[in-house]
């Protein structure tokens, strides 16, 4: 049994040696080349042979004359990754080399969200993937400059280095409403996204009320958020009147910065105003008021 195992082992070793011999000699290849760059592979001997190049995005098969350099065009080594070159025949051989990404030429920029209220901390996120001209991910560290700006307000800038080809940041939305430009720049290549900053919730919501022949007219002061931006027209403001007959609720839309409504007449009523989660002032009509 031991003898058989020994024979089996020797056979396996012989097979491995034979396989090595079949592989031939190691080709003289560069350790690495830049994506898209032409290169040459020297060969030895004489006669004809077949050259193979196998890479991530393609293969090359070509008849060659041994003893002459094999010219490999840049278009055959555009995709970054590991390549294997093989020459068949007695003077053949094989070997591998790396194609490294070229310099950054494209920026994949994802900005979120596309629309948000002003003055929200950490609400804007930006993610950048750095690619070269051939769409290879450039995984060598690169500084990425993020800029968030809106006309008439200070620009927020942050620089982050890519790690494994990606960089990200979080920024506060600005205090001024409008179309903010969110830029990312890597090695002179930039991409821009627009983040629409809209007014936040109303701040200091106040109304006044007066009796009219039709009932009670209520109207707010100009409605602005806490940063002073006018709350958009169309935003719903709710007026609620509570009197001896019950509760009356009227939803009104902001028009030209103010909202107004006509409430039914009442001897005594308590009127309140609200918009979204924001409560405004309360007014008592009649009685001691």
């Amino acid at each position: 049994m031991t003898r058989k195992l020994l024979v089996g082992f020797l056979l396996l070793v012989a097979c491995m040696l034979a396989e090595d011999a079949a592989r031939g000699v190691e080709l003289q290849l560069p350790k690495e080349v830049v994506a898209g760059a032409d290169m040459a592979v020297p060969t030895m001997g004489s006669g004809s042979a077949t050259f193979y190049l196998v890479g991530p995005a393609g293969t090359v098969k070509r008849a060659i004359k041994l003893g002459q350099e094999i010219q490999i065009k840049g278009e055959d080594v555009r995709a970054a990754g590991r390549y294997v070159a093989v020459i068949t025949g007695d003077n053949g051989g094989s070997g591998g080399f790396w194609v490294m990404p070229a310099k950054v030429a494209n920026v994949g920029f994802i900005a979120q969200p596309s629309r948000l209220p002003v003055a929200l901390p950490g609400a804007v996120s930006g993610v950048v993937y750095a690619f070269d001209h051939f769409h290879n991910l450039v995984y060598q560290p690169q500084p990425v400059k993020f800029e968030l700006s809106v006309a008439g307000a200070p620009t927020t800038t942050r620089t982050v280095a890519t790690k494994d080809g990606v960089a990200w940041t979080r920024m506060d939305s600005g205090r001024k409403q409008g179309a903010a430009q969110f830029d990312a720049e890597v090695d002179g290549i930039s991409a821009r996204r627009v983040v629409q900053q809209v007014a936040g919730d109303p701040c200091n919501l106040r109304m006044k009320a007066q009796r009219t022949p039709m009932g009670i007219l209520v109207e707010t002061d100009p409605i602005r958020d806490c940063s002073g931006n006018p709350v958009p027209d169309g935003t719903i403001v709710t007026f609620t009147s509570v009197d001896s007959k019950g509760t009356t609720t009227v939803d009104a839309r902001i028009k030209r910065d103010v909202a107004s409504a006509q409430l039914p007449a009442a001897d005594r009523a308590t009127i309140s105003v609200a918009s979204g989660v924001v409560l405004g002032n309360e007014i008592r009509i009649g009685g001691a008021q």
Binding site: G8, A57, G58, S94, G96, K163, G165
Partner: protein
């Protein structure tokens, strides 16, 4: 003695052929150990991690099958964007040159290095143990056992995560 040698060789061949079937079988896929301990900035839920591991394994299986059979039609189920473009070109050029590539996949140890804040992309680093054979017809042009390192970017689609970038890089 010859019988023993033949039996050993037969056993070796059977073992290798068994692994090849497994690697090319989309239903099973290779083993993928996916570590998400340092994923961020977005928190990665365990269910998402499981989906990523399953879909990444499936993508490798699909790729192995496409390169072995020179059939690009299934690649779109698991790859998208640049990764899909590269693999489709690779299969087309293999067809043109009468080549095919057999990948015997011995498994992956992957680490998620980035999960984007809005959840639209995941990047992972993968160390794969592979046997790669380039064949012309039935003759082997090149054969090697390699430990490969990859960066992969995956993005969610309607039904699964797809590989958007798959790039081998030298050991760092």
């Amino acid at each position: 003695m010859r019988t023993t040698a033949c039996l050993m060789l037969a056993a070796l061949l059977l073992t290798l052929s068994g692994r090849t079937v497994h690697a090319g079988d989309p239903a099973n896929g290779p083993e993928v150990q996916l570590n998400a301990d340092n994923a961020g900035p977005r928190e990665l839920e365990d269910l998402t991690r499981q989906s990523l591991a399953r879909d990444y394994a499936r993508a490798w299986s699909t790729m192995a099958q496409a390169l072995d059979q020179n059939r690009p039609d299934a690649l779109g189920n698991d790859f998208v964007g640049f990764a899909l473009d590269n693999l489709t070109q690779r299969v087309a050029s293999q067809q043109q040159n009468g080549l095919r590539t057999r990948i015997v996949d011995h498994g992956h140890k992957a680490v998620i290095v980035f999960y984007s804040p809005e959840g639209s992309s995941v990047e992972l680093r993968d160390t794969a143990q592979l046997e790669i054979q380039v064949l012309q017809g039935s003759s082997v042009v090149h054969s090697e056992n390699v430990t490969m390192h990859y960066i992969s970017v995956m993005t969610p689609t309607e039904v699964r995560w797809k590989v958007r970038v798959l790039e081998a890089l030298p050991e760092t």
